[in-house]
Structure formats: structure tokens, C-alpha cells
Amino acid sequence: MNLDRVLAIAKKNLRSLRRDRRTFAFIFMVPFMMMLVFGYTFGGEVKNINVYIVNLDEGSTEGSLSWTIISELNSTDTVKIVHIYTAADAALDPVNLSIQKVRNAEVWGAIVFEKNFTKDAIWSIAFLHSGHTFVPSNMTLYLDGTNPNVAKAVSGSLSGALQKLLTTKYLLTSPVSIETDMVYGKDTKFIDFFAPGIMGLAGFLVTFMLTIVTFVRERSSSTLERLLTTPVRESEVVAGYAISFGLMALAQSTVILVTGVLLFNIQVEGSFLVALLVFFLLGVGSMGMGLMFSSVAKNELQAVQFIPLVFIPSILLAGIFWPLEAVPEFLRPISSFIPLTYAVDGARSVMIRGWGVEQIWVQIVILTLFALAMLLLSTYMLKRRK
């Protein structure tokens, strides 16, 4: 293998990208946009969930516990109270009206405090203090469970407000407490979990797509044919492509990381260089895979049809947004055949757990084998086309 010729091919690809401004923008804007969109959508907690409140509570001599809970709810930004009905609105049939609002999907939930809420609650607390049976007081939460995250946030917020009231005003605590000591990921946010996934996904897909399109263009414009009449060998063309597209995957990962760190303050506990090594190997492998697919396609249109075929399993089964344990058992073998699974797992361990090469060597070995296999197969496919 002649290094000068390999570098000449790599230089040609990088120069082409530099001149093709739209593609250049695509390469860097796609991961940037992905990070922005995913970051802002999933980056923080669920906020400003619209709810109705129906407070029919008549209170007691000690005041009204329902209003304390409402004011606590109001102080958080998880729920946004659209309207509060009170006993004065009885003529409007506020409970049914609010349930209807939930049914019409105008709000996510309706919290109803019954007439004797405070009285029942105070009785219950008094009973508890005296060691008698607990009599629950009435508060009903009508929820639209379409989005489990939203439903969980509303009920969590309500429980939180109630718990705070019981702890501060009545000194009631749970008889058992769980002490949690995070071994890894002390302040991990959801964005920290999926940022390595987005880095891998962007690198994998963009490299794959670009290789497919570039190679089909090389074939349809006969430049590939011409290249192979020069002293350059098939393996040198593949190696040149691997270097240029691998570098591109590195640049993309850096864009995502910088965006993540600057805008969303994501964690990088370990060495970013080790994470980059993972993405470089993935980029080289996906380039080889794109090259193989492109040899089957006759034109660019046929080539892009392969994209969903690769995209859908990658996004769903590689552990980007949810852990592999959440993937149904019968689909898990597919996950183990997706190289992105190992890249995301490796990069996540580096960025959140702070692991190094010695701990993620299995992932590195698998990705290296994947890259080598793809390079060899794509060289074979290039040779076969004669």
C-alpha cells in the first residue's frame, strides 16, 4: 500500500467537501441541530404542564391544607395552573368540566380537592399520631396518561408538594428512608445520558449517507473507473476514504461535544480523546458499510433507500435514548449486531463513568474488528466490480 496515494485520495475527498458548501454545512449543521433539538427537548425536566384545579375544600379552623398544596405547586415550574375552580363555581359543575378539559386534551390533568379535604387530612394526621388506623382524605388526580413522562411529572410534583407539607407542618416522615450513594453519574441529567448517543448516531449516519452518495456519484461519473486505471489500488482508495471520512466523524463529534458543553453543560468525566477514538473507529466502519451498500445501488435514488434500513434499527436498538435492558428480549440479538451499540456504550462509559481504554477495551476491539471487516469487504466489492 502506497501512503502517498492513500493521502492523495483522502485529500481529494476533503477538498471536495470543502468546496461543496451545502454538504459541508450538512455535515456540521446536522449534528449541531440534532444536539440543539434533542438538548432542548429532552435536556431538562418536563415543565409548564397545564393543569386545572378544582378546590372544593372548606378548610378548617386551622386553615386550608389544599391552598398550601396549591401554593407549593404554583411555586414549582413543573405544572402550570390554568385555572382554579372553587366552591363558588359549583353551578358550573367544575369537576365534570375539568375532567372534560382533560378528555379534550386541553390540559394534561385536573386536581380535585374534595369538600372535606382539610378536615379529613387533619383527622388522619391526628389518628396517625395517636397510633390509630389511617383514614385517607380525598384528593383526586385526573390524568391524561398519553405521555408517561408528563403524567409522571404531574403526579410526582403533587406528591412532592404533599410530602413537603406533611414534613414541615406535621413533622411526619416515612418510617424507612433510602440512602442513595451514586457510584457514577452524581449529577447526571438525561442529556448527559443521550449526548454520547447523539454523537455516535450523527457520526454513523452522516458518514454512511455521505459515503453512499459520494461513491454512487464516483461510479456514475466514471471517476472511480478512471481512478482504478491509475496505479492506485482498490485498497488504497478504501483507505483514503477511511481516513477522510473518519476525520469527518471526529470533527462532527467535536461539534456535538462543544455544543453540549457550552449550551447544555454536559458531563465529560473521562478523556474526550478516548471517546473520539471510539467515534473514529465507528466512522471508519460506517464508511466501509456505506461503500458496500453503494456497490449494490445503481443510482443515488436507490442508494438513499438504504438509509432508513440502517437508521431505524440504529436509533431504536442501539441504546441511544433508553437502555438496552428496555429493548424487548427477542430484539436484543439485533442490538448486539449494531456497531453503534458498542460505540454509544463505550463513549457513555468514558464521558459519564470516567472510564479509560483499559475498561472499554472490549468495545474498542469490537469496533476495530467491525472497521477492519468493513474495509476488507468494501475492498473486495471494489475489486469484484471489474
Binding site: N2, R19, S222, T223, L228, P231, K386
Partner: protein, 253 residues
């Protein structure tokens, strides 16, 4: 045995190109029909014939782009697909086959690097070639911004950048204006003077007259071959087009 093969090689090396019953079929359709072609070194050989007569397929087989169905061929005494002599061969395909998003300079540099042309040699070659194809001023422009004829000229320059000994030019003058075409022919003449062999295909019969030897192809076969004057005399015609028609009719009869 070794003695025999050595002798055969020496014999073959008199020729720049030689084919022996070279044949190409596409799904049973014969594109090149047991072609026996012999091109001596240092001449300008013109392959003429209508579309589909097998000119381009012959060149592609010689260049190793397509695998022959049967038969064999050699370039500078080495059997195809050529490996050892690849550095000495230049190929200009019919399609532009240059990188549109690279500049002229970048295209030339790429091909120079692939052929391991030394940097200082490249600078000299680039200057010479850009003058020949009249694109000195456009050196740093992206090829996509050039006209069709200019792109063709870039393609020719890329073929010549490593100073090959044997040149395969597939329709090199298509889309080139008459003035520049004359310039090309002058340059081909110079290359020949320097001992280079040029094998080209062309549609322009008036151009083919300038070749040392013309091979007329029809339906994958060589129907006539010889110096243009010789062919005209043999057919008692005054142009190669009529001569071609003469041989075509003769072949059909």
C-alpha cells in the same frame, strides 16, 4: 519454456498494443468480436466507427476496466490487466470523469500524486499542459464552473500529467472548438515525435486522416486497417467516410 516466453515478450514489445481474439459479450450480445489488433510503438492509431462498433469496449478491456469474455491482449508486452507498466499508460475516458468540485489545479495534482510525479516535475508539467489546453487563467476555478469543452480539456490534461508512453484517448476532441482542436492535433504530433504511442477513437473522419494508421470498426470487428492514403487508394474514394461505407457494404455482401 522460459526461453519461449521470453522470446514472445520481446516480440510483443515491438507493439505498443496487441490483442489476440479479444472478445466481449454482454448478456450474449457481442460487443467485440475476436479482435486482433496490432499497434506499433510510436504511432498515432485512430479507431473509427459508428456508436456501438466496440471501440470504447476494446479500450476499456485494454485498460482493465472490463474483463474480456475470451481472448487476450497486451500493452508494451505485458498481458492485460497491466500492472507493471501501468505508470506508462494514460487513459482519457469518453465521459469527463474529472472531479467537478475540485479546481483544475487540484484535479491535475490528484492525478500527478496517483502517478507519483515529483513535485518539481508536476509544476513544469502543469504549466505546459495548461498552456496546451488554454486554461492557464482558469487554473484555480472549480471544474463545475467550466463549459463542456473546457471540462474535456481538463480531462485530457489529467491524462497527460505523468507523461505516459502509451495514450488511450476515447473521443478526445468531442466538444472542443475547431481552433483548439487544431492545437490538440499539433500537440499529439509533438507527443508522437517524442516517441509516444497514441490510440484514439474518433467520430470525426476529417481528423482520422491525420492518424498514421486507421482501424475501421463495425459490429465489434476490424473491417479495414491501414494508413489513410492507402485505404483511400484501395477503395478509390477521396474521403474516409466513403471508404468506411465501402468496407461496410463489402462486409455485408
Amino acid at each position: 519454456m522460459a526461453k519461449d516466453s521470453g522470446r514472445a515478450e520481446r516480440k510483443a514489445s515491438v507493439y505498443a498494443v496487441k490483442t489476440d481474439k479479444l472478445r466481449k459479450e454482454f448478456d450474449g450480445l457481442v460487443a467485440v468480436d475476436d479482435l486482433n489488433l496490432s499497434v506499433m510503438r510510436g504511432i498515432l492509431y485512430g479507431m473509427i466507427g459508428p456508436n456501438g462498433s466496440g471501440k470504447t469496449t476494446t479500450i476499456k478491456m485494454l485498460m482493465g476496466i472490463q474483463r474480456p469474455t475470451k481472448g487476450t491482449g497486451s500493452i508494451l508486452g505485458e498481458c492485460i490487466p497491466v500492472k507493471d507498466n501501468i505508470q506508462k499508460i494514460g487513459y482519457m475516458p469518453q465521459e469527463m470523469a474529472v472531479y467537478y468540485d475540485l479546481s483544475i489545479h487540484e484535479n491535475l495534482e490528484l492525478f500527478a500524486e496517483l502517478y507519483s510525479v515529483k513535485k518539481e516535475d508536476f509544476q513544469r508539467r502543469e504549466k505546459e499542459l495548461l498552456e496546451m489546453v488554454d486554461l492557464v487563467e482558469r487554473k484555480d476555478d472549480a471544474v463545475s464552473k467550466l463549459s463542456g469543452g473546457m471540462k474535456h480539456r481538463v480531462s485530457l490534461a489529467c491524462t497527460l500529467v505523468h507523461e505516459p508512453e502509451v495514450l488511450f484517448l476515447d473521443e478526445p476532441t468531442v466538444g472542443v472548438d475547431p481552433e483548439l482542436r487544431a492545437g490538440f492535433w499539433e500537440y499529439f504530433g509533438e507527443l508522437k515525435e517524442r516517441g509516444k504511442t497514441i490510440i484514439m477513437t474518433t467520430h470525426y473522419m476529417d481528423e482520422a486522416v491525420r492518424c498514421d494508421v486507421v482501424g475501421m470498426m463495425r459490429a465489434g470487428r476490424l473491417i479495414a486497417e491501414g494508413a489513410p492514403d492507402e485505404i483511400l487508394a484501395r477503395t478509390s474514394t477521396d474521403n474516409l467516410e466513403d471508404a468506411f461505407l465501402f468496407y461496410s457494404r463489402e462486409g455485408k455482401a
